[in-house]
């Protein structure tokens, strides 16, 4: 028997596999496929305070081994979420993490503060890195200062542990991670999507209604892995690796470079039980390699 659990300090997970925000709906969409309690946890779709319409379609474009999305965080808003969805999620014996969005620093704080009134939320993931809502894809996670300020502000209003989610669209991901750590974030997750676009050469128009979107999927994995490697060596808080994880082997690479847990995004679309397959694959790999606690492999890269 392999012990797959990992301890983030502020949160103990059954196993290191979380479903990533925006790719797992509010969780319930995946109930037909497997028992959600088998997951380490899942991060629900990003929430603003109010409901949001999202961006003009088309919102998805496939690229070689990748997917560009410009959903623009369509969603029901935090009040409806807490009323209609959270009660069912709170019953689940797995870590329910809520992805928190904001147009500005105040909104992040308002959403976090509101969520803190409810039971059943294991942590907040601060989505300071969504490329799909502002002109040119800018977001707080592109600046150490804005990252520090946003995290700090949210920390002040919520007792819930914070996982700050970083953007890969930066020169120096390490400095942003350190800013989040210094502002009191309990963990870092990375990466969100890469700003990207595609053109329809027949109509000469951008293929996405929103012109620019965010690239995810296996295409980005090698870049995401490099960033997780750099950040994990630079911060003391736990790091959650995200980006193109489709197999147990992918997940293990992220853990070896220093991730304490991982999130699975686009893979959920291709295969709704991707998370389950990854958990099972990890367990089998550990068994075959005589590893008793999966946490042994965290940061075990030899250089």
């Amino acid at each position: 028997m392999v012990d797959l659990s990992v301890d983030l300090g502020f949160l103990k997970l059954k196993n290191p596999v979380l479903a990533a925000s925006g790719t797992f709906g509010y969780g319930l969409e995946f109930k037909p496929f497997y028992d959600l309690e088998l997951l380490g946890g899942f991060v629900v779709k990003g929430l603003y305070f109010n409901p949001r319409e999202g961006n003009l379609p088309p919102r998805l474009i496939e690229t070689p081994s990748g997917l560009i999305n410009s959903i623009g965080l369509q969603g029901i808003g935090v009040e409806a979420f807490c009323r209609e969805i959270l009660p069912e999620l709170a019953e689940l014996d797995t870590a329910v993490i809520v992805n928190v969005c904001g147009e500005d620093e105040d909104e992040y704080a308002r959403v976090a503060e509101y969520l803190s009134r409810f039971k059943g939320i294991a942590a907040l993931e601060l989505n300071i890195s969504c490329p799909n809502v502002r002109e040119g894809g800018r977001c707080p996670a592109q600046s150490s200062d804005a990252t520090f300020r946003t995290v700090k502000k949210v920390k002040e209003v919520t007792p819930l542990p914070l996982i700050t989610k970083l953007s890969p669209n930066v020169t120096d991901i390490v400095s942003i991670a350190i800013a989040a750590e210094e502002a009191g974030s309990e963990a870092i997750s990375l990466v969100n999507t890469f700003l990207a676009m595609a053109v329809d050469i027949e109509t000469r128009k951008p293929k996405l209604g929103n012109v620019i979107g965010g690239l995810s999927g296996p295409a980005i994995k090698p870049i995401a892995l490099r960033m997780v490697f750099q950040v994990a060596r630079a911060v003391k808080i736990p790091v959650i690796g995200i980006g193109g994880i489709f197999t147990a082997e992918d997940a293990l690479e992220f853990m070896m470079v220093g991730a304490s847990a991982i999130e699975v995004g686009t893979a959920n679309f291709v295969d709704p039980d991707a998370c389950l397959r990854i958990i099972q694959g990890m367990e089998k790999w550990a068994e075959n390699h005589g590893i008793k606690n999966i946490s042994e492999i965290i940061g075990s890269l030899k250089i």
Binding site: K45, L56, L60
Partner: protein, 266 residues
């Protein structure tokens, strides 16, 4: 609801660009509705990455059929599968066409453009089963786009075909054919599936004729499960106009709900 994950291909029929697969999929055959679809994994590698949505073309006993056109690399890969291969599928998905009791004995127009004909065979069979009289309108650019003509005719429904180039049947758009038929016929309902421009035009005709109608929409789909919000269309419903998910709230929407032309890249 997702009830079947694997389906063995029993038979493949092909007409150059169009393919009809017969699949063994007992649960979908038992529980699906016309207008629903399945998501098919077309590749073992990461390019193409996503599953492809394909409508149910027919369901009988333990079997379902799909009918598709090669539109790009995903459908091309699908077309290369052979009898005996196992397809990795998810389905049945979505909300299908509404077949109402009051259709009994009535004439129902079913309009398909190109590959949009796919779900109408299943629909027409269920309409017949409900005692209605489906009239099939089947339009294509040229005669090669109408491979299912004889299949529909054999089913003993009235079938009217049109081609843009006049190579078979009515010469012109299928919308004009429907319009001209409406001059001397009064169907009870119209169902359509095909290019969006065709359906938009039909919606306009139906509104003028006061003919209620439902349309099956297409969109690129991330998940097909309602989890990604990638497939949305602006829909008027309950006094609100908002983005609904084609995969979950559709793909079938009714005549006045659909906001056909949203401003683009705005």
């Amino acid at each position: 609801m997702v009830i079947d994950r694997k389906a063995r291909i029993i038979e493949v029929q092909d007409w150059d660009d169009y393919f009809l697969f017969r699949l063994e999929s007992p649960e979908i055959a038992r529980l699906s509705q016309p207008g629903q679809f399945i998501m098919i994994k077309v590749s073992e590698t990461t390019n193409p990455l996503l599953r492809r949505p394909i409508s149910l073309h027919n369901c009988t006993g333990r079997e379902v059929e799909i009918f598709f056109q090669i539109a790009g690399k995903g459908t091309r890969l699908l077309s290369q599968k052979k009898a005996g291969d196992i397809l990795d599928i998810l389905g049945p998905l979505g909300r299908g066409f509404s077949i109402k009791n009051e259709f009994k004995g009535k004439e129902i127009f079913c309009v398909g453009g190109g590959r949009g004909i796919a779900p109408l065979y299943y629909l027409a069979r269920e309409l017949s089963a409900a005692g209605a009289r489906p009239v099939i309108f089947y339009g294509g650019r040229t005669s090669a786009d109408l491979p299912l003509k004889s299949r529909f005719e054999q089913a003993d429904w009235e079938v009217k075909v049109s081609t843009d180039d006049g190579s078979l049947g009515f010469s012109g758009l299928v919308t004009s054919l429907v319009e001209s038929e409406l001059r001397h016929r009064t169907p009870t309902f119209l169902f359509a599936c095909g290019p969006e421009a065709m359906m938009e035009k039909l919606a306009e005709i139906c509104r003028k004729e006061n003919l209620p109608a439902e349309f099956s929409l297409e969109s690129i789909m991330g998940c097909g499960l309602g989890a990604c919000w990638g497939c949305v269309k602006k829909i008027r419903r309950n006094g609100e106009t908002k983005y609904l998910k084609i995969c979950q709230d559709g793909p079938v929407f009714s005549r006045d709900e659909i906001v056909w032309q949203e401003k683009e890249n705005g």
